[in-house]
C-alpha cells in the first residue's frame, strides 16, 4: 500500500499488480482559491443589483446605478466639448485668416486638422499630403495647385468637393480625333516639358491644341493650366485643368499615360465633406473643416 500521506482517497483503486496502486486522492482546493471563487459569486449578486443585468418580458433590470453604455458615451462626448470649448468657440467665430494669425489657435487647428487628415484624406493624398503612387490623386504638400492654394479656396474645395472634367478626344472613346491626331497632341504636350523632339509631330499637335481640339480653352494658351494660364488675354474659369508645362503630373508624364489622358479623358473626383453637400458619405462638421483647411494650408504650398 502506497503512502497516502493522510489524504483521504475516493476508494477507487486501479492497477495494483506491482503493489503500487493508482489511487484517486481527494485533495481539498487551496483555501485562497476557494474563497476567491465564493467572492466572485457574491460579487455577481452585487453586480445584478448595481448594473443592467436580467432581461425581462418588457425590458431588463436597469440596476440601481442607472449606468448605461449610451449615457456614458454621451457624457464622454459632452466632456470633450467642455474641454475644448474655449478654443472651439474662438475657432468658430474667427475667419480662417484670423485663426492663421493667432499662433496658439493655429497650433490647435493644425494638430486637430492633422488627425482629421489622417483619418479621411491620407488614403487619397498620402500621409502629410505627399501624394500616392496611383495617378489621379494630387499631392497637397507642393505649391502646384489645381484649384488654388489660399485658405478660402482650399476650404471651398474640401467643403464642396471637385470633379475635374477632361473630355475624351479619341473617336473610339467618344471624341472627335483620330489615333494619329491624338499621337500628335501627345507629342505636343510632351514637348512642353522637353520630352518630345519630333518637331513635325509637335507642330501638328500645337496646331490642334490651339485650334480644333480646343485644349487652350481649358489649359490656357501656354498650356500652363486654368489657375495661372490665360486664353486670348482673359483668365480661365477655375476648372482645375492642370499645368502641363511644369513636369508635375496628376496622372503621369510618360507617353502612354499622357496619351491615355488625352484619348479617354479623365474625371478625378474629390469628395465633398461639408454637411450641406447632397453627396452620400462621411461628412465633417464646420470646425473640423476649418481645422483640416488650415492643416492643408500649412503643408508647404499654402498661399
Amino acid at each position: 500500500m502506497a503512502d497516502n500521506k493522510g489524504v483521504e482517497t475516493t476508494g477507487h483503486q486501479w492497477d495494483d499488480d506491482e503493489g503500487y496502486p493508482l489511487q484517486e486522492f481527494n485533495n481539498p482546493l487551496p483555501k485562497w482559491w476557494l474563497y476567491t471563487f465564493y467572492a466572485t459569486i457574491i460579487w455577481s449578486f452585487i453586480y445584478w443589483v448595481l448594473y443592467p443585468a436580467w432581461p425581462s418580458a418588457n425590458g431588463f433590470t436597469k440596476g440601481v446605478l442607472g449606468w448605461s453604455m449610451h449615457t456614458e458615451f454621451k457624457e464622454d462626448m459632452a466632456a470633450v466639448q467642455v474641454q475644448q470649448k474655449a478654443f472651439n468657440d474662438q475657432m468658430e467665430r474667427l475667419s480662417l485668416q484670423e485663426i492663421a494669425k493667432d499662433n496658439k489657435l493655429l497650433q490647435y487647428a493644425i494638430s486637430g486638422g492633422k488627425a482629421v487628415f489622417g483619418d479621411y484624406c491620407a488614403p487619397c493624398h498620402g500621409t502629410g499630403g505627399i501624394g500616392v503612387k496611383t495617378g489621379g490623386f494630387p499631392t497637397l504638400a507642393d505649391d502646384d495647385w489645381l484649384f488654388g492654394g489660399n485658405l478660402e479656396t482650399i476650404h471651398e474645395t474640401i467643403s464642396g468637393g471637385r470633379v475635374g472634367q477632361m473630355p475624351a478626344h479619341l473617336k473610339s472613346a467618344g471624341g472627335n480625333f483620330s489615333d494619329a491626331q491624338v499621337d500628335d497632341l501627345t507629342s505636343y504636350v510632351l514637348s512642353l516639358t522637353g520630352q518630345s523632339k519630333d518637331a513635325a509631330a509637335n507642330q501638328r499637335g500645337d496646331a490642334l491644341f490651339h485650334g480644333d481640339a480646343g485644349c487652350k480653352g481649358c489649359h490656357g494658351d501656354k498650356g500652363n493650366g486654368s489657375l495661372k494660364g490665360t486664353v486670348d488675354g482673359s483668365p480661365l474659369p477655375p476648372i482645375g485643368a492642370p499645368n502641363l508645362t511644369d513636369a508635375i503630373w496628376l496622372y503621369g508624364g510618360d507617353r502612354q499615360t499622357v496619351r491615355d489622358s488625352i484619348a479617354k479623358g479623365r474625371s478625378g473626383k474629390m469628395p465633398a465633406w461639408s454637411k450641406e453637400s447632397k453627396e452620400v458619405g462621411k461628412k465633417l462638421d464646420p470646425l473640423a473643416l476649418k481645422q483640416v483647411t488650415i492643416y492643408v494650408h500649412s503643408l508647404g504650398g499654402g498661399q
Binding site: 432581461p55 418580458a57 425590458g59 431588463f60 449610451h70 488614403p123 500616392v132 469628395p271 458619405g281
Partner: protein
C-alpha cells in the same frame, strides 16, 4: 439523485446537461426578441439590392471579415474616427451579420461614400499603391472576373425565408435590377421604384462594358452605413 448515478450514466448526464444549458439560453436570449430597444426603429433601412447582395457574398467569400469589423462601438474615439455608433437595426437584414472585434484593418460599417470608386479600384488592385504601409492583401482578380449572377433571385428567395422582406416583384426583377445598377450614369426607374431613389447606379469597377465581381463588391462597400439618416435619428436613452 445521487451524484454517482448521474456520473455513471452518459445518456442521463447528457439529458440533464441539455436541460440546464437550455434554461440559461432561454433566460438570456429569448427576452431579447421581445425587448423593444434591441432593434430600434429607424428610417431608411432597406434590403440589399441584388448587386449589393452579390457584393456581400464576395466580401464573405474573400474573408474580408477576418480583418474588418462592421460595428462601431459607442466610444468617443470610435465615433470621432468612424461616425455614429452602429445601431442593431442597421444589420437587421444581414445573414450572417458582420460585427466583430477583429480589426487588423479599420472598421467598415460606414465606409460608404468615404472614398471614390477610383480610389477603391486602385486600393483593391494593390492597397500599397495608395496606402504604402498597408498590410492588406491585393485582390486583382475581382476586376477581371465576370460576375456570375444567375442565382441571385434564388439567393433573395432564400433570404426572404429567414425574414428579409424581399417582395415577389423584387425577386422577379432581380437580374435586370442588378445589371441596371452597374451601368455608368444609370438612371433606371424600375430599380429606383423597388429600392428607393438613393441607390447609387454607377460603373463601380471602371470597366463600363462588363459587370465584374468588383462592381458588386464596390456597390456593397459604397452603401455600407449610408441608409439611416442620422440627422433625424433620435437615440433612445436606455
Amino acid at each position: 439523485m445521487q451524484h454517482a448515478t448521474i456520473e455513471k450514466s452518459i445518456p442521463l448526464m447528457a439529458i440533464l446537461t441539455l436541460i440546464l444549458v437550455s434554461i440559461g439560453g432561454i433566460v438570456e436570449i429569448v427576452p431579447l426578441f421581445f425587448i423593444k430597444s434591441t432593434i430600434e426603429k429607424v428610417d431608411g433601412m432597406r434590403p440589399y439590392t441584388p448587386l449589393e447582395l452579390k457584393g456581400r457574398d464576395i466580401y464573405i467569400r474573400e474573408g474580408c471579415y477576418n480583418c474588418h469589423s462592421q460595428m462601431i462601438r459607442p466610444f468617443r474615439d470610435e465615433a470621432a474616427r468612424y461616425g455614429h455608433y452602429s445601431l442593431a437595426a442597421e444589420s437587421m437584414y444581414d445573414h450572417p451579420f458582420q460585427w466583430g472585434s477583429k480589426r487588423t484593418g479599420p472598421d467598415l460599417a460606414r465606409i460608404g461614400g468615404k472614398y471614390s470608386n477610383e480610389w477603391h479600384q486602385a486600393h483593391m488592385l494593390k492597397p500599397q499603391n495608395v496606402v504604402p504601409e498597408s498590410v492588406m492583401p491585393a485582390y486583382p482578380w475581382l476586376q477581371k472576373a465576370a460576375l456570375k449572377y444567375d442565382d441571385v433571385d434564388v439567393r433573395m428567395q432564400a433570404l426572404s425565408k429567414v425574414g428579409v422582406p424581399y417582395s415577389p416583384e423584387q425577386i422577379a426583377n432581380a437580374k435586370q435590377d442588378l445589371a441596371a445598377q452597374a451601368k455608368a450614369g444609370g438612371n433606371d426607374p424600375g430599380l429606383a421604384k423597388r429600392y428607393g431613389n438613393k441607390v447609387p447606379q454607377d460603373d463601380f469597377d471602371g470597366k463600363p462594358d462588363q459587370i465584374t465581381e468588383l462592381d458588386a463588391l464596390l456597390a456593397y462597400l459604397q452603401m455600407l452605413g449610408t441608409l439611416v439618416d442620422f440627422s433625424s435619428y433620435q437615440a433612445q436613452t436606455r
